[in-house]
Amino acid sequence: MNWTWFHRFGSPPYFYRVAGKMIPWFAWLAAITAVAGLVGGLGLAPADYQQGEGYRIIFVHVPAAVLSTMAYSVMAVAAGVGLIWRMNVAHAVAASCAAVGAWFTLVALATGSLWGRPMWGTYWAWDPRLTSELVLLFLYLGYMGLRGAIDDTARADRASAVLALVGVINLPIIHYSVDWWNSLHQGHTVLKFGKASMPPSMLVPLLLMMLAFSFYFAAILLVRARGEVLRRERNARWISEAIGA
């Protein structure tokens, strides 16, 4: 396998330039899929036979929850790559994931609460899925706190990378919590082996919204990572050319 692309992305000027070109593509893909998903989810999909119109919260709740775990996965992989290959760009990517991931973990928890009140009769329960998602929020906050507490960037990168990798244990717990324990939260609907337990009229808008949130995350991550690369490379010669100074 040819790993040239991997080493190229490790070069800050190359990453800065290519990321700048990719951002508009991801942004437009996010906008298009979000519009299609919203039209399908709020307009075309039928009401659920049990939850009525209230189930439409899932078209933002599920994508936000998926983004929250996706951001952590990217953060952990980037942190691992940074730690093993001492790749500065990878650390910049890892550092850029945390804030977005934390925000969307909060959105997943809040929209889940708003769904839980009419369906379960409570905004919050110490349910395995909800609790493990809350732990994810604390992991993000801990990661950001740790980075902020260490002045030296290289040390902050290493310490926060270890924390990010240890926290990976929470990802399968979030995913399988509905299987491993008795949970108020409904079981797997989309991401399960075999057939999804949703009709296409609901599943397609949900998948479109999940795609939209994934493209959105990619765009936001690259914008943040470019800023992070600029800060880390502040004394490099390529910077003047890249920012047109």
């Binding site: 009525g52 969307f104 809040a110 708003l114 936001i220 943040r224 502040r234 920012i243």
Partner: protein, 54 residues
């Protein structure tokens, strides 16, 4: 239209979910752009300072 906005009586749960998500989406765009802008401004200032110093 009113029927759709009412969301079968669940409007007070459905619409706040969408508004909250929308606000988080917009806020994260703003924060990411501002973060990049601050880094660019700082890099420009540094480049100009180096240019005038040399």
């Amino acid at each position: 239209m009113m029927h759709w906005l009412n969301m079968g009586g669940y409007w007070m749960f459905v619409w706040p979910s969408y508004v909250l998500t929308f606000l988080a989406v917009v806020l994260n765009v703003y924060l990411a752009r501002r973060s990049l802008q601050v880094a660019k401004t700082e890099a420009r200032r540094r480049a100009q300072a180096q240019g005038s110093g040399s």
